[in-house]
């Protein structure tokens, strides 16, 4: 797994976003389109693709895409 691929997967689920919107340092919760459903999408995607179960609390403690990737990477290992 690498962060480029991770971002690509996230963007593919976020229909609302123009490709290229998400960057490593993007604070995803500050995106105009952000809603609680997007939190569920992130949790579902990471569970399905990486077999890592994140909680709402995990998400509340991070803000950028890179931090999200970091949690997944650590839990995967």
């Amino acid at each position: 797994m690498n962060i480029e691929n991770f971002i690509h997967k996230l963007e593919a689920e976020f229909d609302e976003l123009e490709p290229g919107t998400l960057q490593k340092n993007t604070s995803f919760k500050d995106l105009d389109e952000w809603s609680s459903m997007h939190a569920l999408i992130i949790i579902a995607l990471i569970d399905t693709e990486y077999d890592v179960v994140l909680t709402g609390e995990d998400l509340s403690q991070i803000s950028t895409v890179e931090e999200l990737y970091g949690i997944v990477k650590v839990r995967k290992e």
Partner: protein, 337 residues
Amino acid sequence: MPSTALSNEQLIAEYLPYNKKEDKAITAEELYNQNWIKTRHQVALADTAKDLGNRAAENLFEQWNIRKEEIQYLVFVSDALDYKGPTTACVMQNDLGLNKSIGAIDVLHGCTGFVYGLSLISALIESRQIENALLVTADIPTKVIHPADIELRAIFSDAGAATFLSREKIKNGINAEVGKFVFGTDGSGENALKVERSGSRNPADITWLKQFKEVPHGNTGGKLYMKSSAIFLFALRTVPKLVEQILQKEGLSREDIDYYVFHQANGQMLDFIGKRMKLPKEKVIINIENIGNTVSASIPIALYQEFKKNKFNPQHKALLAGFGIGLSWGATTLKFT
């Protein structure tokens, strides 16, 4: 629908003995927020999907003055057939007192089942094999859900629905013409949503069944497993494409549709899909709050409830889309006349 309605509070109470100490307590509000369901229905232990379907059919005959002796074909759609043989629809012919000259088949399908039923019967009528048919869609998911699986209990509900399709229009009331169809299938999702130990593959054995002896239904019909995250993503990915495909096939735009009647899987999710597709809120039917996800019966129940509110007028168009176990998806349109 069965008369037993279960509240979120009741589900939580029945879940408590299975709650592991490290888990935090679940509240009724949290359950509601996940799927927008407050009550769901549970069939009596002695009843099957066929029994719910029979009751729905009897109601249909009575409410619409349909003479049962005129029915030429019966399609029973369910994921909970009475037997591996005989065909449940054959047994229903006798239960309902239908003519012995009818054709009767079962279709083993869940959330896409209503769309499949409409498609098969439309084809039979258009190819002039028959003039009319009764479509019964009924499911009893509560009988294969373990009380420890509170998320599944919160979503799924038991119900039956009966629909009459005919070449001839009824004189008083509203008719609807069935449009074209699109389908989709992805069997790689076999293990994402499945009733384990319910058929010929790995049938239930004594050791397996012993685990569930405390459960009222004993999981004797199998145990429903759902990988919620995978199914959630599947729905979010599939429904918008399915809608576009059927609109394209019909040569319609999103604005041409007056009502979007999706399989009532999860209220919050349907609302989000509607918003994502920029569909006006009043066009996306969500009737799940006091009904739950009734699998193959959810689309006709939603249609009937909207009909009772006098929502449908001649020239209105509804788009129907089913999606779920299989994995499977399908859509069609109804044009009211």
